[in-house]
């Protein structure tokens, strides 16, 4: 009360304690608002995403049968003679039908395959690669002997036009993909079914 009377009496002199009080109040409001914003952000930040591993998938093991992933024969086991020359098909390992396990099986001429393709994993010209583009995770297409964009059979991603050469380990020949498609080891079972002989030889899809 005395201080206020002092201010009224001396017009030019400002109440020193009032200035200090104002500074403390302003600082307090500043800290309070920053804490409020921080509290809101951390409250929403506690929401945990449903799954955090982008590249989690059930690994393919030796002996896994391969089935058609789509089309009229969806779910049927793929046999050696069901994929004709120059044809390709999307496949899943039976029981592990997750997006990242999608496989592209292609039938081409055996003698055209060369290193770095694992030649022991090519059976009668049938080779299996991952069907997930290593760029942004789109599913790739199979382009048999078409003239565009390449005059030889190749794997082509519709999203950003990455091209993979299946005869040389699905290495990237054009487009923004950073890594070749990993190859899946395959073998023949007794009933001439194409079955997996292990997991892909590299990481599937884009690196996140």
């Amino acid at each position: 009360m005395d201080e206020i009377k002092q201010t009224a009496n001396q017009e030019n002199q400002v109440c020193q304690a009032c200035i200090a009080r104002r500074k403390i109040l302003k600082a307090g409001m500043g800290i309070a608002s920053v804490s409020l914003v921080g509290a809101m952000i951390s409250t929403f930040g506690t929401i945990k995403p449903q799954s955090s591993k982008a590249n989690e998938r059930k690994p393919i093991t030796a002996g896994d049968k391969l089935v058609y992933a789509m089309g009229p024969k969806k779910g049927q086991i793929i046999t050696l003679d069901s994929i004709k020359l120059d044809k390709g098909a999307l496949a899943f390992p039976l029981g592990k039908e997750e997006h990242l396990n999608l496989i592209m099986i292609i039938h081409e001429v055996q003698s055209e395959f060369k290193s770095p393709t694992h030649l022991s994993w090519v059976i009668n010209g049938i080779v299996a690669y991952s069907a997930i583009c290593t760029h942004m995770g789109c599913t790739v297409d199979w382009h048999p002997k078409s003239q565009t964009p390449a005059p030889y059979p190749h794997i082509f991603c519709p999203c950003h036009q990455s091209m993979y050469n299946i005869f040389e380990g699905a290495k990237v020949v054009s487009g923004p993909a950073p890594r070749p498609l990993p190859q899946l080891p395959i073998k023949l079972s007794q009933n001439n079914e194409i079955i997996a002989d292990g997991d892909f030889d590299g990481p599937v899809g884009p690196m996140v």
Partner: protein, 404 residues
């Protein structure tokens, strides 16, 4: 009726202060209004869609097929008498919303209307553009057809390319690694609740600030009416024009929607294992084109976990640098006096040149996005993307200087 309300709400005072406000007239002043009207149309058509939409990606059985519930609800909306056209109008209104915001931005930029005291509204406007883009992106997923899922998948991977925080940020925004079962309800929340609230609040702030600071006027008003506003009163003239413009926009959207189906989910089909050949919507084509021409050998390793690769350069870094420059426009081109009048675009050659060069950059990249369809090689695209903006800059700079 008016007298009864007036005695209770003092409408006379409101009428005197607001209903006689003068609105300056200029043909380029319509773009902001069109953006506002498209937003209103989006909300109205959106509420109609809300009545029929189910936000879940769980499979339901329709006849013999198993479809995601959201996709099935879109088919059901299509079967409603005006369901399909309302869907198309909603989609076209979204395109119009974004286009009119961008043209409005260009008008404000070229007329220098962002200068003091209107820097605040420039930044609020940029926040509105960002919110509109995110609202559009989140809405795109909702039909959950093959195209929507592919586009959002790419968005997820782009977001995770942000160095260090990208993975956690993407998983937070997308509720887990895409396509997580929880992503659709989450995007539904963004698109229907959070973004409309954010956009409405930002719009309100944008308009209130504009009312307080008064809209800029054409330069001609300065000579004859300095110190006052030359314009038409809000009621009844400006209101009539605005109602007319709203009805025109509404009508034109319906006409376009009738002739050009857009995003026909019923033809795209539900998401499958194979990826369709998709291109992003027009406002993202420039980023798509940018990603195409950056060579995939361009990799810089920052730390063991963070790496700068073509995706982060084209998808995050370059767009961020461009957005930063757009953000800094009121600081780079400033005035110490308060401005009330629009400037002619060519009166500031450097600003004019950068604006034209940016438009050229945006358009060239959008065309490059279709390079494989039009037979343009990647090498030629790279040359054009560098050459055309620079040539436009030089040409427009000297054009503007010559005019002065």
């Amino acid at each position: 009726m008016y007298k009864w309300l007036n005695e209770r709400l003092d409408l006379d005072r409101f009428s005197k202060k607001f209903l006689r406000k003068a609105f300056p007239v200029h043909p380029t002043y319509f773009f902001g209004e069109i953006a506002l009207f498209s937003f209103i149309i989006l909300v109205i058509t959106g509420i109609y869609l809300l009545f029929g939409y189910e936000a879940s990606s769980k499979l339901v059985q329709i006849g013999s097929k198993h479809l995601p519930a959201a996709y099935a609800s879109i088919l059901a909306i299509n079967n409603q008498p005006i369901g399909m056209i309302i869907r198309y109008v909603h989609h076209f209104a979204a395109h119009l919303f974004l286009a009119s915001i961008m043209i409005h931005l260009l008008r404000v930029y070229f007329s220098g209307s962002f200068k003091k005291p209107r820097e605040i509204n420039w930044w609020i406007g940029l926040l509105l553009l960002g919110s509109a883009i995110f609202a559009s992106f989140s809405g795109y997923l909702l039909p959950y057809d093959a195209f929507s899922v592919t586009a959002t998948n790419i968005g997820y991977y782009l977001a995770s390319q942000i160095p260090w925080i990208g993975h956690s940020l993407a998983n937070f925004v997308f509720n887990g690694a895409f396509p997580s079962p929880g992503v659709l309800p989450r995007f539904f929340a963004y698109h229907v609740v959070i973004m409309p609230i954010v956009i409405s609040l930002l719009l309100g702030a944008h308009l209130i600030v504009m009312i307080k600071q008064k809209h800029t006027q054409p330069k001609e008003n300065k000579e004859h009416y300095k110190g006052s506003i030359l314009g038409i009163p809000l009621w009844p003239q400006q209101t009539t024009i605005m109602i007319f413009l709203f009805l025109m926009t509404f009508g034109l959207l319906f006409i376009i929607a009738s002739f050009y189906p857009v995003h026909p989910s019923q033809y795209f089909g539900p998401p499958t294992n194979s990826t369709p050949m998709v291109k992003p919507d027009w406002y993202f084509l420039w980023i798509y084109g940018l990603l195409k021409i950056i060579p995939n050998t361009f990799v810089i390793h920052l730390t063991k976990s963070a790496v700068i690769d073509p995706e982060s350069i084209g998808g995050i870094i370059i767009p961020s640098i461009i957005m930063l420059f757009i953000f800094l426009v009121p600081i780079l081109s400033k005035s110490d006096q308060k401005t009330y009048y629009m400037e002619t675009p060519k009166s500031y050659p450097v600003r004019f040149a950068f604006g034209i060069a940016f438009i050229a950059f945006f358009l060239t990249l959008s065309v490059v996005a279709y390079q494989e369809n039009i037979g343009l090689s990647i090498a030629l695209s790279r040359i054009l993307v560098l050459l055309i903006p620079i040539a436009s800059w030089i040409a427009s700079y000297f054009l503007a200087k010559a005019k002065k």
